[in-house]
Symmetry: D2
Subunit: 356 residues, 4 copies
Amino acid sequence: MRKIPVGILGATGIVGQQYIQLLQNHPWFEITWLAASERSAGKSYAEAVHHRWLLHIPIPEAIANVKVHSVEDASEAKKHCDLVFSALSGHEVEQIEENHAAAGLWVFSNASAHRKTSDVPILIPEINSHHLAIIPRQRQRRGWNTGCIVVKPNCSIQSYLIPLYALHKQFKIKRAIVTTFQAVSGAGHPGVASLDVMDNVIPYIPGEEEKSEWEPLKILGEIKGDAIEPLSSMVFAAHCNRVPVLDGHMACVSAEFEKKPALEEILHVWQNFRGAPQEQSLPSAPEQTIVYRHEHNRPQPRLDRNTHRGMAVTVGRLRSCPVFDVRFVGLSHNTVRGAAGGGILNAELFISSREH
Amino acid sequence: MRKIPVGILGATGIVGQQYIQLLQNHPWFEITWLAASERSAGKSYAEAVHHRWLLHIPIPEAIANVKVHSVEDASEAKKHCDLVFSALSGHEVEQIEENHAAAGLWVFSNASAHRKTSDVPILIPEINSHHLAIIPRQRQRRGWNTGCIVVKPNCSIQSYLIPLYALHKQFKIKRAIVTTFQAVSGAGHPGVASLDVMDNVIPYIPGEEEKSEWEPLKILGEIKGDAIEPLSSMVFAAHCNRVPVLDGHMACVSAEFEKKPALEEILHVWQNFRGAPQEQSLPSAPEQTIVYRHEHNRPQPRLDRNTHRGMAVTVGRLRSCPVFDVRFVGLSHNTVRGAAGGGILNAELFISSREH
Amino acid sequence: MRKIPVGILGATGIVGQQYIQLLQNHPWFEITWLAASERSAGKSYAEAVHHRWLLHIPIPEAIANVKVHSVEDASEAKKHCDLVFSALSGHEVEQIEENHAAAGLWVFSNASAHRKTSDVPILIPEINSHHLAIIPRQRQRRGWNTGCIVVKPNCSIQSYLIPLYALHKQFKIKRAIVTTFQAVSGAGHPGVASLDVMDNVIPYIPGEEEKSEWEPLKILGEIKGDAIEPLSSMVFAAHCNRVPVLDGHMACVSAEFEKKPALEEILHVWQNFRGAPQEQSLPSAPEQTIVYRHEHNRPQPRLDRNTHRGMAVTVGRLRSCPVFDVRFVGLSHNTVRGAAGGGILNAELFISSREH
Amino acid sequence: MRKIPVGILGATGIVGQQYIQLLQNHPWFEITWLAASERSAGKSYAEAVHHRWLLHIPIPEAIANVKVHSVEDASEAKKHCDLVFSALSGHEVEQIEENHAAAGLWVFSNASAHRKTSDVPILIPEINSHHLAIIPRQRQRRGWNTGCIVVKPNCSIQSYLIPLYALHKQFKIKRAIVTTFQAVSGAGHPGVASLDVMDNVIPYIPGEEEKSEWEPLKILGEIKGDAIEPLSSMVFAAHCNRVPVLDGHMACVSAEFEKKPALEEILHVWQNFRGAPQEQSLPSAPEQTIVYRHEHNRPQPRLDRNTHRGMAVTVGRLRSCPVFDVRFVGLSHNTVRGAAGGGILNAELFISSREH
């Protein structure tokens, strides 16, 4: 199989770097295009990223000398690749991503710009692969030929939404209160100052609680006409906190169901949970998306964030809740499953679904 | 006024050391008796504590050469002091504390041994100073002459129970879900291994959730006959977590009321909250027990734990809760207000109430 | 005594904030002037500093509503104060400080801009108070009437130079190798990213080793004509490292002397060391500048940085060195003694010397 | 090739666990014997290690049900394996290791018990593979038939001794001053209390400086008769410090040579350095033992400790030293190269040398 040529928008930032790392030796995708802001355009990747290369491995040799282009050059990008991963941040993300879609590219985005756009799916392959059905309407409505935009949710959501969704199918969730413990890498680099977070917890992350409460409802929603209509029968309250942890977002969850499940039923559901990535054997699929740890003090960010190469959600401490029905702790790797790894899994699902 | 001679049981441990620090220059109390395990008995305090002195100040000179006695010598203790602070831990705490009460001493304890004992009050002076009324019945029932036992609650509780209680009086709390972020000093020394908690969160503290859910109900309960009967109209769910913070326990709280208060009403209640420590001008009383911070990202453990010398509870982020009525973040210093400082405040309340 | 009116240049930054904190209730100085960049000029101090107030205490009420001026307004500053503390950083510091001196103000600076200027003394009051004798020549040469510039050294130096100087007087130091462990607060705010320094050490601080090797020689030098000539008989090698510590710079030192002292002699010298701050009873003088800890594992940044309100240097682990003569560990608080506290002590020495 | 059956003494501790992890899928060795203290003997490995399993992977299934024996059963051990790795600590290590050697086993030890024993080599394969020649004399002198004892050095040494040795061969080192930044995992589990090391540095590790100064001299020494005679022409001074880092010991080094090398010569020597592991293609050999990083701020523990699976030494910041000739920073993974990985490499060298 010829590999699909892919590009990275925002290639020099921390998420862009992770895309480069995770796409090394990818069986389906090959990096052929790197783009960043005007400041970097024209330089080699190694020059452009310079002292801001943050990964533990050196810059891959095949990438170091690749020329960085401007994110403005959407039509030029289309000549070099079919698909772009957007690791953009900042003000004009919305327009740049639309330009690339209009140029005929499949845009898989980590940015929040399009999450509230009604015809753009927020995709978690294990949950709402059927939302890809909105793509033809997205194209028709916007006059795009082959291009499209698919986004992934905020990085804090995976740790609790996937285990809750697995239960929702059978027991219907009514409401849940979620308190997050979020790693500093979630804020990018330089991100959180050491003077602010060492020996400390910061009980506030701008915009995070609103995203953590709303995005799950769209993910669990249904396509109605040209739009994805958020679920209205469920309500979340999120307390989002920054803790002195490098990687791995953890969440303490209390949930109430329409039909209260027994703890054994829940364990059974989680242990047998399989989604589109496993069914379609996607290259980046975790062996199991939900991994339950029976030890009394797990999951823990440092010990569990790399489960199944950072693509699994680790869950533990399932017990009954004196206020709601049950409570548990969930954990996922915010810069793998919650960022570049999640974006790549979305693209794999899209390619795989397209082919069948 | 002649100072009241006081002793410290478990004087060599971390909480014992804090009692020594906080009682330096105390206007009412003077340390005249130090007791610890058999291993330390007979040594000078400096010898007994040796390399395990953990405070930032050196051992006070007036204490360094004081002889340490055995915690078994209750009757000898009574010859040297009227009141003992128990900073004991381990297996025989219950019996040792009762021996001292039987010998005629007022025992103010940090230990959990007697918290479930029905005729022993768990005292937070701002909340249940009226529970001191059980002392005469405690004495009568047990055949104690002047002695008694009063305990303080688990260190995690202050951060959320005091602000909730202030509201409960007016709006009646039905239920609350609390997620704690607890400092490593809560586990004593050596306590939590650095290998376990650095770059990590541990979502489990043995016994902590049960205490955090039950103790508030006893504190808010009423004396019925010889016993304090826990409140039954309220229910708590606690998720207790250890975070890499040195001092200061923080809690994220969502609460539901019988009568939903407006946010302004809540602020008004908190800002005007005064309790027995302020009314009776107790020496260790914080100027204000509840300090509200209006910044969007407070309270934070490192910045706010020392508010009013570590005796206040700092609260922030009051906002409505999509699931319950309101939510907020509370913080208190676990080794000051939550340990030695809380024990001293209890003793001050007892002395003050006795005199009026 | 009427207090001397003082100003702070760069009042909104982290060092400026520390000046404000340390000058609260100062017996000699009263803040009457706050200046910062054009961006802040015209706002109240509370507005200008906004979310960037980093201290554990709130902004002092007497300061919150003070209007912030531009650092360009040197002549206006002179109408409101006699002395300015410069907590400036960035490009034009050199010129701004000279403008204030030219306007007749005594400038006490934390900035590095003038450290290499030959007629500007780098002052550590315990070491080179006699360097104040260059001030008349500085004025004459530059045509300044009453103004002058005095600077303090880089924040890492105090921890090793003061204990070495105490020995140098008697035993002549030939050379020393110094390895520093520097706190993140030394880089200001936001400064060091948490992603860079958590679970890590960064063995490089831009410009720091050069300053740590050269500045001591100027401090120990002698006035020759219009210039301070650095000492040439001594040589330092510095390895400077950033460690995940909030405050307190520590140094491991191996030193060689012309005349090798016995360890007891060294202890004797340190314990009896007194300098100008003690002799002249300056308000910010530590009770003892060098505090020796006999425990085998001290000094430690967290335990010892606040010794004598952060103005002392704590020393420990004196032992012989198999390669040179002796070795030891030194520690000083980088944002108190090493920044605002050191600047205030310099100003106190200047005022005190002037009066006698 | 049939795999060599190996045992692990002290299999339940943190170093024992690392042996288990690193020996999974080892091409030459197969674990057939696990031994620990009497307390664990008779239990399955999973039972014995219980809550003290510290690695990020679960206990390998093939090991979980293996029965743990007593470290006293040396003769029984010999029936099940040819070689044992000793991850023992505590008082009777010396005798237990000798019992196993007397029973005919090849003992490769991480313990310090035998490092000062004159006929036991302290082996770093890249440096002193020729010290294996003392084994026949060790056997003869002690009446051992096939058994022997080989030890690895203290975990802090690799980071500076390997790069210094590479230079020593050509330029003869006279003296060096080394300051270490050692990770908390070096103290085992529970090891360093979080209350002691968070936001702190501890400038003392019991016994560490003496080992760091003496062991290199034995490693660089020569066999004379039945003993390894330490080198006497070189002298080290070590300042050993504990820093809040999980894994990876770093060292700042200043060194003086008989014949001062140019910096380019040093880089050349390091880049071309190869030792016995590479020459004999040992399975655990790093591709390159010394990896030089040209960035101005490397090596860093978190970024570089895993270079070549934790078996390489990463070096950086080579520059001239104003006091000695040159200075640099070295780093090695203390629990891989400095513990279990180093022990396995020693055993591989022994097996490989034996076969040729």
